[in-house]
Symmetry: C2
Subunit: 748 residues, 2 copies
Amino acid sequence: MKTESRLVQWICWLIVITSFFLTGFIIGWFARPTSTETSHDAGSRRHLREFLDEMRPENIRDHLRKFTRLPHLAGTEQNLQLAEQIKGEWLAYGLDSVEMVPYDVLLSYPNISQPNYISIVDDLGNEMFNTSLSEPVPEGYENVSDIVPPYSAFSAQGQPGDLVYVNYGRTEDFFQLERQMGINVTGKIVIVRYGNIFRGNKVKNAMLHGASGIIMFSDPADYCAPGVQPYPDGWNLPGGGAQRGNVLNLNGAGDPLTPGYPAKEYTYRYNLEEGVGLPKIPVHPIGYHDAIQLLKNMGGDVPPNNWKGALNVSYRIGPGFTDGFSTQKVRMNIHTNNQVTRIYNVIGRLRGAVEPDRYVILGGHRDAWVFGGIDPVTGAAVVHESVRSAGKLLRKGWRPRRSIVFASWDAEEFGLLGSTEWAEENAKVLQERAVAYINADSAIEGMYTLRIDCTPSLHTLVYDITKQVSSPEEGEEGLSLYESWHKRDNWTDDRDAPRISKLGSGSDFEAYFIRLGIAAGRARYTKNRKTERYSSYPVYHSVYETFELVERFYDPSFRKLRAVAQVRGGLIFLLADSQLLPLDASQYAGSLTKYAHTIAQLGQKHPDALVKYGVSFDSLFSAVENFTVAARDFHERLTTLDRTDPIQIRMVNDQLMYLERAFVDPLGLPGRPFYRHVIFAPSSHNKYAGESFPGIYDALFDIERTANPKQAWDEVRRQISIAAFTVQAAAMTLTPPSETKSQISDVL
Amino acid sequence: MKTESRLVQWICWLIVITSFFLTGFIIGWFARPTSTETSHDAGSRRHLREFLDEMRPENIRDHLRKFTRLPHLAGTEQNLQLAEQIKGEWLAYGLDSVEMVPYDVLLSYPNISQPNYISIVDDLGNEMFNTSLSEPVPEGYENVSDIVPPYSAFSAQGQPGDLVYVNYGRTEDFFQLERQMGINVTGKIVIVRYGNIFRGNKVKNAMLHGASGIIMFSDPADYCAPGVQPYPDGWNLPGGGAQRGNVLNLNGAGDPLTPGYPAKEYTYRYNLEEGVGLPKIPVHPIGYHDAIQLLKNMGGDVPPNNWKGALNVSYRIGPGFTDGFSTQKVRMNIHTNNQVTRIYNVIGRLRGAVEPDRYVILGGHRDAWVFGGIDPVTGAAVVHESVRSAGKLLRKGWRPRRSIVFASWDAEEFGLLGSTEWAEENAKVLQERAVAYINADSAIEGMYTLRIDCTPSLHTLVYDITKQVSSPEEGEEGLSLYESWHKRDNWTDDRDAPRISKLGSGSDFEAYFIRLGIAAGRARYTKNRKTERYSSYPVYHSVYETFELVERFYDPSFRKLRAVAQVRGGLIFLLADSQLLPLDASQYAGSLTKYAHTIAQLGQKHPDALVKYGVSFDSLFSAVENFTVAARDFHERLTTLDRTDPIQIRMVNDQLMYLERAFVDPLGLPGRPFYRHVIFAPSSHNKYAGESFPGIYDALFDIERTANPKQAWDEVRRQISIAAFTVQAAAMTLTPPSETKSQISDVL
């Protein structure tokens, strides 16, 4: 009995122990997360706050001061030294790696022993007047050597001729000159105002119309703000200042001699005659003091008022000089040389913890025409501060989900060469793995408010991040940057939110966005677009872009630059660290709808022709409608996604990442094989202006000037068809990959 | 004391119980797999066995019988009905979905009321001889209507002229004719033998040399095997049979009127004059009975022996007829019409269980010139049996890891139109998600052994699967297909393994492989390439391609077709169901090394020119070496991969999937924008022949015929540079994405 009861007792205990063991086992089994994918977004937000708060105005000031002491033109020893310095500091800040990546690209420099100038010569060939050989150097920089004088990079070499004034040198200006004023510029030297469109387009137009040379001047109407003093007493362009700049028509080709491929040592190079976009005529920039001398004695008719600038001359059209001076000619003495030269990008990397094969890129250029006080060092200083702040977080053990790439590009000023060559070399890897590209050129061009140009899928993220950044404006303590911006630039006609613009070109995002289809955006502080009508900022690309220009006038507290740093950095941070990519397909749908209406309205200016040539925008509207439905359904499905399933997360993130890629057509836009984005590209008539549906836009632009309307309207029809197809194909990428039937309708 | 000891006892028990609980908890915690990614490859292999064993010769026989009773030319009612039937049966077999996908493409049909023929006319215009209007119909098919007579699809309409015989009509034949024999074909009708190169290339060559028409005949030397009777007593081509076929030069464009975009209703169509690849001269095919009549009285010189076929004529070159017949002319009466016509692909889908956004495609065409006894129905029957077998497994609860797409393409015979239009419509989704494409055209063209053409990364998988399939040969019971194949076609000069060939073109894999860069392969039973020298199989594209041809001669047991079905199906199965993609980058490295040596040797035929024009293959060898190292390291890393981490697995699988994509250049090969694969494409001189480094190959091909050697060698240099860059870029995709520095050297 006793042993029996003992046995029973033992059995009981065994049962109890076993059941506790089992309970423990079961709890243990279920307590363990089945995946490393836990929602880490709350932690990520805390790190974001730290990352933003770590950025300091005084640091940005110091970076700017440090990087603007000497000129650092692309291809020079100074710019290589600056690259080495940046590499060293990025490594010290804590990036996982920093590399120098060289390319050998075509650059263009004035000939030191034969300076460039323009002269007025009499009939014996005596020089009556010469334009200045350089700009007066600003105070404090008198001992600096290697300041490159104003020139037009890649200009051909020069010859004499008569002047013809063609306003801004736009397509419509030349059309007006030839058709309405009856003046042919063949063999003449064209003189045009800077501004309104990219200077390379002016040069292309001059060549197309047969001009033998082109002079570009900065008119005070376009380069002086009213009531502002010339530098150094204010931020206006002095009369002796002039705008440097390249005059290529690359259309995204990068190095003119190696289009489509990276300019490495082994790469095949075209001859100079075959190079992409090189002008065949001499080109030279002058300031307004020199321009007066060339313009004042011009003959011919007085032009319409909208051709007149603010100089005290009558802006006569020519050709040539007026009576009494009519035997005088203008001679362009241009000795600029093209030269294959080594450049260096600096590429820093920060490895992602979970998805190291996904890249978020923050890139901006380092090369400057002279000191780069605004362009590009306000941008480079901001990148520098972002790297420093990220390094600080890294030391605390943080690491983003995805990899981040920081880039300091070279030779942007010579045609976006460094960034484009790197994009060419890494095209395959970028197409497969790049999540987004944020550009970091000049961070300020005015003192009024924020300016954002970005792809529509980034709109929501831009609003999100600007709500987490403080207004840099005095008297707006407690206001967010979003509120400050909203107050100053409301998107009234569309929606009650701060205005966001389309991306054009003219900076290093071009190859990433327009060629490769990587979601892209840029942020900077800007002027008031309603009241301040001058082009760019007045001293743009002159020797007067100094540290002092920024410190005295543009951002004495450096808080505006800090705000821009926080926006650029914050975008990168959230793109790299959010579990679900913060890209919004529905915003893209909204934008496409708006663009479709805009382009259809442009077509509807010719109602009779639309009927006659059977042109309809219906297929485009139908495709946009399908895209809208697909985007809405996509985001609805996201709300019920299993956030613990890593493959599910990766699948939808892949759809978001590849959305922008879907808008790229490998065949390119007509005649522009490297501009492949069907929704956004510059118009053929102005590289700076981002147009939506650029293929249709350009086809319609030609309608008014064509000699063959049937052919021109056929091209419009063809472009509408390509746009409709592209939008539909993009919609298809948003339908569930797990579905086995088409989720969206056919295009009607 | 008692209460105290009770307390101690309780505490002891509590400790014991707690420790058991904790032990349970800990064991439970660690016992639970942290991921759903368990190695399921063993289970997958068991399912593979079931999948292969389920395929039966008698079923393949039945499918073939059923699908070859009536003609099913693309664009006809019969072919639509066949599509509906296939759709119904695939759904019944158990696919998740089956869709009909229509396109409106340019097809070409003879005019029923004005039949095509060629005549010899006397000087009064009387027809002295006319070629036959149709082939004698084989027994059993006398009551079948809608048999399209032999014609050259897309031929222009015709005119009279003198004949010139130009052998096979190859680039080198025309070169020999003009340079060595001194005969100009301008305005003449060219007559050439079928065979050796794609017929469209013959037509292009004739046009390039100014011919006014071209006649193609099947010579017994090329279309009759020695000792074999003509059909129906054997499988040789009867004298009244002729080869249909399209004569386009599309170079991968798909529908000639909508190059680059799917031929949907809304799509912009070019005019016929602007269409891609349409011949401007009349073209017509004839059999050898008719050919004798045209050839026998020809005048001019007797050609070299390698221009002579097996007919009892002297193969004189012309131009025109010999004395006594010299006033006679040849007239081509061609009334074939181009016509935009609706075609239908059938697309069946099977959803993947783990990665539904990864697609493995098995596609082959359904349209036939007449009955399609071999081409394509031996292929379509094999696909049908694969679908049936997969459906059977599905019913048992199996589902592959990735999605499988089965495709029945339309209008392959008119220029790969159905498959290309679908590739165009789905290009974005396919570029992002397609793992591999296996082609399923004719499954048999001879009775000797297996033939595989595929991308190098599939070599290892092909060997693997053929070891799991039994030899279909009598007397080889117990031998694997691999052993049987190895015995018959050893790759002796390279390695001791069965020979695998490069992909050329001429079937539906083209757009997937050469345009989109999706890993691709094809499998069929073939003749003995060493002893059987005739082109294709003798009755190719004639009315004699019947069910009986296969049942009586090619594969009476249907075991050869079953073996091909098991190879094609097995490839699809393992690509869709293996946890790690069975793609082998090292095999690609080995092939690239071989190709680099081959192309360099071709260049070294001109040692003086290489020196004179500075041509070097070093950069290519350097890039191939880098690729080899990257591939080796990649596969080494796979051996230590954490197989339980889904993101790790996905990352390396993405690298494997995108490897083939890395060889695609969006700029295309020179003059061929839709042939984008830098490693594999047909030569410009023969669509059927797959060349490695086709850009370099074509540039070298031109060397011997060029008038400007400097320019020609510059093009060779340019192509070497592009090839080196592309191989290097592909190597970069194989380096660890988690590494932050370049893992491979620069190209030297």
